[in-house]
Subunit: 349 residues, 2 copies
Amino acid sequence: MGTGPGPARRPTLEQVAKVAGVSRATVSRVVNGVESVDPGIREAVERAVADTGYVPNRAARSLVTGRTGTIGLVVSEPRAEPAGGPPASQVYADPFFGRIVAGVLGELAPRRVHPLLIHVDSAPARDELLARLGQGDVDGVALVSVWPDDPLPRLLAASGAPAVMFTRPGQPAALSYVDVAHQQGAELAAARLIARDCRRVVAVAGPADLPAARDRMDGFRAAMGRSGQLSVPSAEGAFSLAGGQQAMARLLAGIPDLDGVFAASDLMAQGALITLADHGHLVPGDVAVVGFDDSSVAIACRPPLTTIRQPVEEMAAEMARLLLARIDDPDQPPRSVIFEPALVVRGSA
Amino acid sequence: MGTGPGPARRPTLEQVAKVAGVSRATVSRVVNGVESVDPGIREAVERAVADTGYVPNRAARSLVTGRTGTIGLVVSEPRAEPAGGPPASQVYADPFFGRIVAGVLGELAPRRVHPLLIHVDSAPARDELLARLGQGDVDGVALVSVWPDDPLPRLLAASGAPAVMFTRPGQPAALSYVDVAHQQGAELAAARLIARDCRRVVAVAGPADLPAARDRMDGFRAAMGRSGQLSVPSAEGAFSLAGGQQAMARLLAGIPDLDGVFAASDLMAQGALITLADHGHLVPGDVAVVGFDDSSVAIACRPPLTTIRQPVEEMAAEMARLLLARIDDPDQPPRSVIFEPALVVRGSA
DNA sequence: GTGAAAGCGCTAACAT
DNA sequence: ATGTTAGCGCTTTCAC
């Protein structure tokens, strides 16, 4: 058939109304599923819609409703290079990001709302986001921040616009968020190491300024303390393979006969595994290793990583639900949902 | 200060005009950077804009301009579970996805256009996308398809709307796309293996229905043939760790003394490495392994993976540029940009 | 160079 | 239950 020649502008409500022999308002009602429409008329309109291939214009609709059916999925991080550089960051390469996207999408897609990907790495970008939000360009914001001192959570809270976070904000802010019980997860890791009779346990810690990293260490230390190992030597590193490698190397230098390792992330655990192997230590024979996350790298490790599972997809889905609820009723108070971690036993401990 | 009490509706052009003592049209001109405005007036308007905190309403603007400043970043894949299930797929977990996002974002952000994430896994979802596109809800589409028989490329091409793809479409379609020279990359891999004096080389192939996988195999076979090894035993698997493991196991069963492996992706190479280690083969001593992609897993492998680098971020950036160009001038003919792969030597070969 | 006025396509009172 | 009407906030001729 084809769309016919020329510019072929899309049919409007007006045209459909003409074809169906009714008013614009009636077509609008049918399209929006308003009940009080005569079945006969409704059918006629539906036919006209089908015949004309009518599709509502979102811009026009949101101009009047003030809703867009779009939320902002915001990734906030401090700008790496002081000079504005084009390629975006490391964050997107982290398997975490994909899992969050998948979880959010799963919840959003059925409701026909789509996330607008927004990268914020500077004050102007922050202002633009706030502007878009204030002006109704997106209905709300789901924030993933990898920056402990990020001012964005508070700014969002202050703006009063619907906003939720993945992970507790670095600085307290009146925002809903989802998170995992980090301490509890760390306790599971400690219990596993203890059950394996490890006596000289160390920790490969994440950046101390990240709440998640701190919580994991606190929980781990507390649990080890309760079991008799009052001091847990630790080395800090970035949440990355290299970070894990280096921290592990430092630990090994000080305590050559260590026999248990808790790493604050799977990526770090993978790095630790590599360093251990390089130094001739057998895992789990000589030393047991427990990670955190249960990310995709866990099964790629040799041996496969025993780790603490974080239900990222479910958490992201819940974050989406919290946001949607907040959009429907903006006066709802902030709410946080904390998920339970679980021990996943594989080969490394 | 605060925004004041109550609903606090955003200021409109009208209000700014009143404050500046000019007409809406003039404010509009200033806001849109039209040259022909008296410097004095312009300054007054700019002050008024700043004072009122005016931000243009996108919906209103795009209602009249027909532009949204938004593109669709579409991930298309066949629905995994026949029954509509909530959580989205595997695709997002692949490091590839994040790299594409980073590349696209890097190009788009400076131009203040943001990608709307759209997941398409069914005919209705496809229809909705086409509808949104036709009606101008997004200015164009960047498509990442992981489905050889995907009808979407052709539908997009037929719709006439601006659309570009990452990777050549599975079935020919009049669409711009970016890709890497798969065959050339495979030749690089072959050359490396040959240079290392491998005599019994095998291939861990990706799904034969994917053009990329096929191209890589074709290129590899051709290059090996030119060097004297006329037949290259191969085993097919999914583009995943498990796929690589299994394919490698099958190969090893048939040819226990193989001494060179070309894997069609880094993830598969990682799997192959695991299987080789399990069978007691030393890499690169007993057998040399070359991967493809240079993804983040390459450096996590033991030994680190020698691989063929695919400049994914740059490719994604170019895809974004192609799309933007096409949006600016819809009559441009489709164009493809093929990137050069490069050999990255690490420990595995 | 600037303003007046006409819509873009839609929804939501209000009237009928 | 349906139609009429008045905008939502903006850009864009068209006069001046």
